[in-house]
């Protein structure tokens, strides 16, 4: 049979290409476009080359915000992942407790970000907040508006409260998929509780943990709404994360060029770190 060679098959991918173009490629290219130009408004642009990138990489403000982001994500992962695993291990596997626990766990996930911010903003206030007031009555010197450490603690506790359940739910899904025979065999082999965790539960949770770590890293690294609502980036710049800084620059100061350059660097960092996590975690234990 004669085969016809042409490129008409490309028409078949056209719809999805258009969709991706409008939702991702064109906006991204707009940002790239801004990042190499300067403007004084009125839609007049000047070519700026890589100047904005150079300026960004030499700006202490950027590096400080980046450091805050990395520290924040590090703390979040270090708390939420082990805590999530621990809670998932202790959740009931059968009976009426299962739906109760699942609903309780899902509740924080259903609350919009800015509402979570508002809840904790009020909760922690020294004058009227249940937490802030109680702490100050107990004689604890707590004030997230003035003390950077208190501000950080508040945001971290809030994030743990908001997002640990995501890790819990993912781990729980991994745990319940382990067949009973594994636990029975472990009993017969005389395995300790730790061995069961280390050699059965953890390997079986490996895939979902990868997803949990990736999601929690990306989300915490891009955190914006909650600290914006609670502290507005303060006191000083102590809780000014990259995203907050970016919005200040783009919307507040209308510095489109530098903001675009920063967006791209920000985007690349998230991709790079996620790629590292993904590679490390999928390769772990694969070599034979």
């Amino acid at each position: 049979m004669e085969k016809t060679w042409n490129n008409r098959a490309w028409f078949l991918v056209l719809p999805v290409l258009l969709l991706v173009a409008f939702s991702a490629i064109i906006p991204l290219m707009t940002v790239v476009n801004y990042s190499v130009q300067d403007t004084f408004g009125n839609n007049v642009f000047f070519w700026a080359g890589l100047d904005w990138f150079q300026e960004l990489l030499h700006s202490p403000r950027f590096w400080q915000a980046l450091a805050r982001n990395l520290v924040f994500s590090g703390i979040i992962l270090a708390i939420e992942v082990p805590l999530g695993i621990l809670i998932a291990l202790n959740m009931p596997k059968a009976g009426w407790g299962v739906p109760v626990c699942l609903v309780l766990m899902a509740l924080p996930l259903l609350i919009p970000w800015n509402v979570v911010g508002m809840i904790w903003q009020v909760f922690g206030r020294v004058d009227i907040g249940l937490l802030g007031k109680t702490l100050s009555l107990l004689g604890v010197d707590y004030n997230y508006v003035q003390d950077p450490v208190d501000a950080w603690i508040t945001i971290i506790v809030m994030d743990v409260w908001h997002w640990t359940s995501l890790v819990v739910l993912l781990c729980y899904a991994g745990l319940v998929s382990i067949p009973d025979a594994y636990y029975q065999a472990a009993k017969i082999d005389g395995a300790s509780g730790w061995s069961v965790f280390r050699y059965i539960q953890l390997p079986k949770m490996h895939r979902v943990l990868l997803i949990a770590v990736l999601l929690r890293f990306m989300d915490s690294f891009m955190i914006y709404t909650e600290p914006f609502v609670i502290t507005g980036g303060g006191p000083g710049n102590e809780t000014t994360f990259l995203s907050i800084d970016l919005v200040k620059m783009a919307v507040g100061q209308f510095d489109l060029g530098p903001a675009a350059a920063m967006s791209l660097v920000y985007f690349l960092i998230v991709m790079l770190v996620s790629w590292v996590f993904y590679t490390v975690m999928t390769n772990y234990g694969q070599e034979s």
């Binding site: 067949p179 025979a181 594994y182 029975q184 065999a185 009993k187 017969i188 082999d189 005389g190 395995a191 300790s192 061995s195 050699y199 059965i200 390997p203 079986k204 234990g285 070599e287 034979s288």
Partner: protein, 356 residues
């Protein structure tokens, strides 16, 4: 190695079992001799896995005791009972090497490393996986994984028994045969007490010296494969073993004559009147002779399965299967005769001895 005694063991998954029907495992009072190869055969849900898990200690029986060599082990944990169990789906520790998988139960029991090494190497030899000792266990095929599950039991050379819970379910047909003969070899060489749960009669009959047939939570017959075939003590055994299964016909007994509708069948002996509600005559297709004399039948179908033919016929409105040799004649006006030595009489499903 040990002799295993089940002393009036019953088990229910309900908290407060009262009626007989509450028990998943009705009373089992049975011994497994030291070094014997037993098969527990029965359909799904007959209680065979429950029985196995009671022996291994994964399940605490609701009633009764379990003895290993006359020692009561009912309260002991699976680890303390020192048994090995191979499950339906291979259980391996994915992240460990084959070697570490086998070493795991020994290390958990605090064996010294030189001891562990010696035993693991011996076992690897036995299960034929020496060349893969340092490979990760996850990359292996299903039958190799199943061998590792078995190996984790064999490393403890003093195991009291090796229990198998339908271990060949996920294995390819060819490897099934290979593994089964390797198991038989291990049994011959080392004399382990083995209990093998299966719903596959071929597996049970080829593996075991003694087959225990279970049905609805009780043991209905214990015997050698030929005993199960020749003298099924319960109509269920008749149906379940053999292909096709035994013909079971409702009859009325009158001394040494069984009446089926308008036909009479002479029995090799008389049946003691037992006052049973339901009397049946069981005869395997192998003992039904097709010819020109005897009871008239109508033939519905003939299945040629190679070495012989299965004739599906109707006798007095009842289905009847007969086995005819490959070149056996099928007469135009077919009749059947039951070979007297193949005739069994059942009262309320249980076999009755005939008095000559």
């Amino acid at each position: 190695m040990a002799r295993i005694d089940l002393d009036h063991v019953r088990h229910s998954y309900l908290r407060n079992p009262v009626k007989d029907a509450d028990f998943a495992l009705k009373e089992v009072h049975q011994s497994f001799e030291d070094g014997g190869a037993y098969a527990l055969l029965g359909p799904s849900g007959c209680g065979k896995t429950s029985l196995l898990n009671i022996i291994s200690g994964l399940l605490q029986p609701s009633r009764g005791r379990l003895l290993f060599d006359d020692q009561d082990v009912t309260a002991l944990s699976p680890e303390q009972r020192n048994i090995a169990q191979v499950f339906q789906f291979p259980v391996i520790y994915d992240t460990m090497t084959v070697y570490d998988n086998l070493a795991f139960p020994l290390r958990n029991r605090g064996f010294s490393e030189p001891d562990v090494d010696r035993r693991v190497r011996e076992t690897l030899e036995m299960i034929d996986l020496s060349d893969r000792a340092d490979k990760k266990a996850r990359g292996l095929t299903a039958d190799q994984k199943q061998k590792i599950s078995l190996g984790r039991g064999l490393v403890r050379s003093d195991v009291n028994a090796i229990l198998f819970d339908e271990p060949l379910t996920v294995i390819d047909p060819h490897m099934k045969w290979v593994l089964r003969s390797q198991l038989k070899q291990l049994h011959k060489r080392f004399g382990y007490t083995m209990v093998y749960v299966t719903h596959d009669q071929t597996e049970a009959l080829t593996f075991a010296d003694t087959v225990v047939v279970m049905y609805e939570g009780e043991i209905v017959q214990i015997g050698t494969p030929s005993e199960l075939f020749e003298r099924p003590s319960h109509t269920f055994v008749g149906y379940f073993i053999g292909s096709p299964g035994m013909n079971v016909l409702p009859v009325e007994i009158d001394g040494s004559v069984a009446r089926l509708g308008t036909q009479s069948i002479a029995l090799p002996g008389a049946v003691k009147s037992s006052g049973a509600v339901k009397t049946e005559l069981g005869v395997r297709p192998e003992y039904v002779r097709l010819g020109r004399e005897g009871l008239p039948v109508t033939i519905r179908a003939v299945e040629d399965i190679g070495r012989h033919k299965i004739v599906r016929a109707t006798l007095e409105g009842r289905e009847l299967a007969a086995i005819v040799p490959e070149h056996g004649e099928i007469p135009a006006e077919p009749h059947v005769i039951f070979d007297p030595k193949g005739i069994n009489i059942y009262a309320d499903s249980w076999r009755q001895e005939l008095v000559a």
